[in-house]
C-alpha cells in the first residue's frame, strides 16, 4: 500500500469513526449515570437535520453546529422528562425516541432535500499540517474531529479525576446510596442525559455538515445503534470508546478497499456484521465470561429511580 493510499484511507477512517465516537461518548456518560437512552439514532437525526437547516438558512456552519447540539439536547430533554420525572420505561421510551426522531427529521427536512451546503472548513494547523503522513491525518481536520478527540480526554478525566464525575458514577452504581448521602440523583441524571443529547446532536451535525454535506432522510443509517453497541464494547470507558470507534470505522473502510483489491476475500456482508458480532462477544463476556466483574456495567443501568419519601 503506497503512502498516498495509506493517508487517504486514514482520512476516510477518521470520517467514519468521528460520528460514532461523538455519539458514543455522550451515551457513555448518560449510561454511567444509570440511564439507558436507546434514542441515540433519533437524536443524531434531529441534530443532522437541524444543523443542516440552520446552516442552509444562515450560511454559517458554526450556527449549524450549535443548532444541532441544541436539537439533540431538546430530544434528550424530552426523554429525560418521560423517563426521569414521569418514570416511564427507559428501553421503550428510548426506542420511541428513535422512531420519533426518524419521522420528525424527515418532516423538518423535506424542504431541504436535494440542495448541498458548503462543508465545515478544515482547520489546518500551520506548519504541523505540512508534515508527511501525520500532518494531513492529525492536523488537517475540521473542528468536530478535534472536538471528538478532546472530548475523549475530557470525559475520561471527568469520570475518573473529578469529584462531580465520581458522584455521577456513584449515582449510576447505586442511586439509593447516592440519594441517602444527599446527592440530587434526578438532577444529575438529567444533566448526563442532556450531555448525551448534545453529543448525539454534534454527531448528527458531523454527518450532515462534514461527512456528506447534505440532508437525506434517515441519513444516519444505523450509526446511532453502532454507537450504542460501541459503549458496551468499550465497557463504559472513554479511551476504549475511541479505540472501538476507530476499529469499527476502520473495518468499514478496509472492507471497501478489500473488495476491489481481492486481498481479503471475505463477503462484504460479513464485514458489515463485524461491529455487531464484536459487541455480542463483549456482551457475552460481561454476562458469563471469565472477565465478569472486570467489566464495569453501571449497576443501576436502566433502573428507574423513585425516591423514597
Amino acid at each position: 500500500m503506497s503512502t498516498t493510499i495509506l493517508v487517504a484511507s486514514l482520512l476516510t477512517i477518521i470520517g467514519a469513526a468521528t460520528p460514532l465516537l461523538l455519539a458514543a461518548l455522550g451515551e457513555l456518560v448518560a449510561e454511567r449515570s444509570g440511564v439507558l437512552n436507546l434514542g441515540v439514532e433519533g437524536m443524531m437525526l434531529a441534530g443532522a437535520v437541524t444543523g443542516f437547516a440552520a446552516t442552509m438558512l444562515t450560511g454559517s456552519g458554526t450556527v449549524g453546529v450549535i443548532a444541532a447540539a441544541v436539537a439533540g439536547m431538546a430530544m434528550a430533554l424530552l426523554f429525560g422528562v418521560l423517563t426521569l420525572s414521569l418514570l416511564s420505561n427507559q428501553v421503550a421510551t428510548g426506542l420511541a425516541l428513535t422512531i420519533f426522531g426518524v419521522g420528525l427529521s424527515a418532516l423538518v427536512g423535506s424542504g431541504f432535500v436535494g440542495s448541498p451546503v458548503a462543508p465545515l472548513p478544515k482547520l489546518a494547523l500551520p506548519g504541523l499540517s505540512q508534515l508527511p503522513i501525520v500532518g494531513p491525518v492529525l492536523f488537517g481536520q475540521d473542528f468536530l474531529v478535534y472536538l471528538s478527540w478532546a472530548m475523549t480526554a475530557a470525559v475520561a478525566w471527568f469520570l475518573t479525576r473529578t469529584r462531580p464525575g465520581m458522584i455521577l458514577r456513584a449515582v449510576g452504581e447505586s442511586h439509593e446510596a447516592a440519594h441517602a448521602i444527599g446527592y440530587p440523583v434526578i438532577r444529575i441524571r438529567y444533566l448526563a442525559v442532556l450531555f448525551g443529547g448534545l453529543m448525539a446532536g454534534l454527531a448528527g451535525a458531523f454527518l450532515s455538515l462534514s461527512y456528506t454535506p447534505m440532508w437525506v432522510e434517515d441519513m444516519s443509517a444505523g450509526r446511532g445503534w453502532i454507537a450504542l453497541a460501541l459503549v458496551v464494547f468499550a465497557a463504559w470507558r472513554p479511551w476504549r470508546a475511541l479505540i472501538g470507534a476507530y476499529l469499527f470505522g476502520g473495518v468499514t473502510i478496509i472492507q471497501l478497499h478489500a473488495q476491489t483489491s481481492g486481498i481479503i476475500n471475505v463477503p462484504a456482508q460479513v464485514m458489515s456484521m463485524l461491529p455487531y458480532l464484536a459487541t455480542i462477544a463483549v456482551l457475552v463476556a460481561i454476562s458469563a465470561g471469565p472477565w465478569r466483574g472486570r467489566l464495569n456495567a453501571p449497576a443501576c443501568l436502566g433502573v428507574p429511580f423513585r425516591p423514597a419519601t
Binding site: G15, A16, M219, A221, L256
Partner: protein
C-alpha cells in the same frame, strides 16, 4: 385535477371499518378515474420514489379532470402493503401502481380479490389478468454513460458503487463496461458493494476508496448524491443516478440517467379510460422516453458528446443494442453468440460479468 394525499396510518386504521361498507359505487360518466400509487420510500428521496411521483404529477397534468390520483408513501414491503392496497381498491381506485419489487406478492394477492381493479407492478415478473408489469431499460442509459466514460477517463479506471447483486444492477454494470470498452478496450471497472440503497456516509466512503485507488469517474447504483459530492470535491467526474444531481456536482456531473415514468402512467390510464387496458409487460427505454439523459456537464468534450449522442440515437433507432454478441463472460463462457442480441429474458436474469469488472463478483 385533484390530488389526495392519504396518510398511511389513517389508511391502515380505516381498513377494517371500510371492509364492511358496500362496494357498489355509482359510476357516472363524469366520475374521474381514480389512480392510486404505492411508494416504498418518501417522495422527497430525490431519486426512485421522487421520480415515480413526478410521473404521477405528469399524469394529472396530461389528463386533467379525467383522473384523480392519490398516493401512499413509505409503505414497507410486507403485510402493510396488502392493507394499503386493499384500502385503495375499496375506495374506488380503478388503476393502482405498486412501485417496488417487494410489493409483487401483495399486489397479486389483492388483485385476486378485486378482479375489476387494474394493477401495475413495477420491476416485477409475475402477471395476472388484472396485473400488468412495467420497468424501464436503464441499461440503455448505462451504455450512453459508458461511452462518455470511454472518452473522458484518463486512467481508464472507473469506480462503480453497487447496492445489491441483483440482475438489474449486474445488467447496468455490464452494459456500462461493454460500452466503455468499445472506446477503450483496456477499460477496467472497480465495483464495490455497500449493501444498501441509501446510506450517504457509506456511499461517500466507497467513492473515496475508489478514487484513492485511481478511479477518475464514479458510477453508482445507489440512491444518494454523496458520491457525486465527493467527485466534485476532488475535481473528478461522476454520473447522476435516477435524477439530475448537478446541484451536488455542477462540474463533476457528466450526465445522469433520469427515470421518467410519466409516459407509461399516461398511456396506461388512457387505456383504462378507453377500455383497452390489458395485462402485459411493458419494458420501454430511451426510445419511448422512460429513460432520459440529463444535459451533458461542462467536462464533456464535443467529441465525447457526439459519440454518446450516436449511441443514444442508435438505441432509439433500434440499430444498436448494448448487448450485442459475441459476449463472453469472465469464466470464458459465451453468453451472447456473435451477431445475436440479448433477449429480454437473458437480461432479466443476468448473473454473469463481462471481463474488465473487478471486485467481489458473486
Amino acid at each position: 385535477m385533484r390530488q389526495v394525499r392519504l396518510p398511511r396510518r389513517l389508511l391502515l386504521g380505516a381498513g377494517l371499518g371500510l371492509a364492511a361498507a358496500p362496494l357498489a359505487r355509482r359510476v357516472s360518466a363524469a366520475d374521474p378515474l381514480k389512480v392510486g400509487f404505492v411508494y416504498v420510500g418518501p417522495i422527497t428521496d430525490n431519486g426512485w420514489t421522487y421520480r415515480h411521483d413526478v410521473g404521477r404529477r405528469d399524469l394529472e397534468a396530461a389528463l386533467g379532470d379525467r383522473v384523480q390520483t392519490s398516493y401512499v408513501e413509505n409503505v414497507p414491503e410486507g403485510p402493510d402493503c396488502e392493507r394499503v392496497l386493499r384500502q385503495l381498491a375499496q375506495s374506488g381506485h380503478g388503476l393502482i401502481f405498486t412501485t417496488s419489487f417487494g410489493f409483487m406478492e401483495a399486489t397479486l394477492r389483492v388483485a385476486r380479490q378485486f378482479p375489476n381493479v387494474k394493477f401495475e407492478h413495477a420491476t416485477g415478473y409475475k402477471r395476472a389478468p388484472n396485473v400488468a408489469t412495467y420497468n424501464a431499460r436503464f441499461y440503455e442509459g448505462r451504455a450512453v454513460c459508458g461511452t462518455l466514460a470511454g472518452h473522458l477517463s484518463k486512467s481508464g479506471l472507473v469506480g462503480y458503487i453497487g447496492s445489491f447483486p441483483i440482475p438489474e444492477v449486474v445488467m447496468g454494470v455490464n452494459a456500462f463496461t461493454l460500452a466503455m470498452q468499445k472506446i477503450r478496450p483496456d477499460a477496467r471497472i472497480k465495483l464495490v458493494w455497500v449493501n444498501s440503497w441509501n446510506d450517504p456516509g457509506k456511499e461517500a466512503d466507497a467513492a473515496k476508496a475508489l478514487f484513492d485507488q485511481g478511479c477518475d469517474i464514479m458510477c453508482q447504483h445507489t440512491d444518494s448524491a454523496a458520491p457525486m459530492q465527493q467527485a466534485e470535491q476532488r475535481g473528478l467526474m461522476a454520473f447522476g443516478q435516477a435524477a439530475d444531481q448537478s446541484a451536488f456536482g455542477p462540474n463533476a456531473q457528466l450526465t445522469a440517467i433520469i427515470d421518467n415514468w410519466g409516459p407509461h402512467y399516461i398511456e396506461r390510464a388512457k387505456a383504462v379510460l378507453d377500455g383497452t387496458w390489458a395485462s402485459q409487460d411493458t419494458w420501454n427505454g430511451l426510445a419511448h422516453g422512460e429513460v432520459e439523459m440529463a444535459p451533458y456537464g461542462p467536462r464533456v468534450t464535443p467529441e465525447a458528446a457526439a459519440a454518446a449522442d450516436a449511441v443514444k440515437q442508435g438505441i432509439i433507432d433500434g440499430t444498436l443494442h448494448p448487448f450485442t454478441g459475441p459476449i463472453v463472460d469472465q469464466k470464458g463462457v459465451e453468453q451472447i453468440a456473435a451477431g445475436a442480441v440479448a433477449t429480454d429474458e437473458q437480461m432479466a436474469q443476468m448473473n454473469w460479468w463481462v471481463p474488465g469488472v473487478e471486485g467481489q463478483l458473486g
